[in-house]
């Protein structure tokens, strides 16, 4: 046995944790090595000295007042209120017994579910994309009808935004939620219409659809909480860009086109 290995075994030797064989080796080394013998005596001396420490013993009055002093520090609410927070304690207890792999499994499952939901959202958007009919004439008729419907829905939506009453916050909040959903649909529709409105004479209509798309995106991005300042900005945009006038003009133009078409189809009327 070396001196180093002997001294690193002092704790085990002191605690009587060594095997008989190891004990015999230690005894033999300590008998033959003065340096280790001295180190061992100093080790024991240190412990013997340190355990001579006297403890301060508080008197009985200290112990009698212990609870009163502690009670002053206890939370102000009555201990009986603890039963009200028992549910989270139960949940914490339950969580603490779940092994680590349980959390990993739950995390993986959560990721899968999130991925599935996100996938569904993309699928919904794809489904709402309007396909362009193969026949060009039919296509233009369809685009015209879709544009009319788009302008009509946008106008109704913007009227709702312009007439939001900030005094009735609860009502305004529920309106904004509904308007955000409609706006999202109209933004998707605008993306298609901007590419479909590619005929000569449809440029102004295309610009209007683009302007509307920007405003609709602002509505879509409104906070879930009723955000008076953002609504005010949208109202100003609608007003400054003269959106209602442009929609009205476009609707009049569409109506005239329809009248002309009807006239040509039935000249006697």
């Amino acid at each position: 046995m070396t001196c180093k290995s002997c001294q690193t075994m002092f704790v085990d030797f002191q605690e009587k944790l060594l095997s008989n064989e190891q004990n015999a080796q230690m005894d033999a080394h300590l008998r033959s090595c003065d340096a280790c013998q001295q180190a061992w005596q100093e080790y024991q001396y240190t412990i013997r000295t340190m355990i001579r420490r006297e403890r301060f013993e508080p008197d009985e009055s200290y112990w009698n007042g212990y609870w009163d002093r502690l009670e002053e520090k206890l939370p102000s609410e009555n201990i009986r209120h603890r039963s009200q927070i028992k549910l989270w304690q139960v949940i914490l207890n339950w969580m603490s017994v779940i092994p680590r792999w349980g959390y990993q499994l739950a995390g993986a499952a959560a990721l899968l579910i999130i991925g599935f939901i996100v996938g569904l959202q993309f699928r919904t958007i794809e489904n709402t994309t309007i396909e362009i009919p193969a026949n060009p004439i039919q296509s233009q008729l369809t685009v015209a009808a879709q544009t009319n419907r788009y302008l009509e829905r946008s106008k109704t939506l913007l009227l709702g935004i312009v007439n939001l009453d900030p005094e009735q916050e609860q009502l305004a909040l529920s309106s904004v939620r509904h308007q955000r959903r409609i706006s999202r649909e109209l933004v998707d529709e605008a993306r298609y219409l901007k590419t479909a409105l590619n005929q000569p004479g449809q440029q102004r209509l295309q610009e209007l659809v683009s302007e509307l798309e920007l405003i609709l995106m602002q509505i879509t991005n409104l906070d879930a909480q009723y955000d008076l300042q953002s609504v005010d900005l949208i109202q100003q945009s609608i007003d400054q860009q003269g959106i209602f006038l442009k929609i009205d003009l476009e609707e009049m133009k569409q109506q005239m086109n329809r009248d002309d078409a009807r006239q040509q189809a039935h000249p006697t009327i």
Binding site: Y66, K73, L92
Partner: protein, 193 residues
């Protein structure tokens, strides 16, 4: 279910008298661990009361895997180590370790020695040196030494309380004793006198 567990169950359901019974039952145990760790009466009082406040808040989380005594040891040690970590970040550490806290060392000397000024002085000197040696230890070394030699816990119990391997406890204890050995060497002649 042990008597302690019945009281814990009752206390967690809002029974204030059950909580008080637990405090009365364990106040000395917790105070003396705290005193052995800190070496100062008022600090020990604050630490022990912090432990009972934690017990009060965590009654619902006590699962009964360990005895309440072991659980209180663990909370006391963790609270002490956590406070020491916080103290380490303050410049006050030096002063708080060296200032005379609240209980004069003469308070801990047995009463029969009061009549002999020489013995009294000798005993005070020894206690001063012992305290100085303890103050040389890091909080973890002091905790291991205290639990083993002042609280008389086994190395296995200390490992469980501190949530470390038994080998770590042994090496920490060895280091602590070596450090105190150096601190006491200077005063060795005084002790032998």
């Amino acid at each position: 279910m042990s008597d302690d567990n019945v009281l814990i169950h009752a206390a967690s359901r809002g029974d204030a008298s059950a909580f008080r019974t637990l405090v009365e039952r364990y106040k000395k145990t917790v105070y003396y661990i705290a005193y052995d760790l800190t070496g100062q009466h008022h600090t020990a009082e604050d630490l022990s009361q912090d432990v009972f406040l934690k017990m009060y808040r965590g009654l619902g989380t006590f699962r009964g895997d360990a005895t309440l005594r072991t659980w209180l040891y663990r909370v006391t040690v963790n609270t002490y180590l956590s406070q020491q970590r916080k103290k380490a970040f303050t410049a006050l550490n030096f002063f708080s370790d060296h200032k005379k806290d609240d209980c004069d060392l003469t308070d801990v000397i047995p009463a029969e020695d009061e009549h002999s000024p020489e013995k009294m002085a000798e005993a005070v000197m020894m206690q001063t040196h012992i305290q100085a040696a303890l103050n040389k230890l890091s909080p973890r070394e002091r905790t291991v030494f205290t639990l083993r030699h002042y609280q008389d816990l086994s190395l296995k119990e200390i490992a469980d309380i501190m949530d470390v391997r038994i080998g770590t406890v042994k090496s920490t204890l060895f280091r602590a004793i070596q450090r105190m050995q150096k601190a006491l060497a200077f005063y060795k002649l005084d002790f032998n006198a």
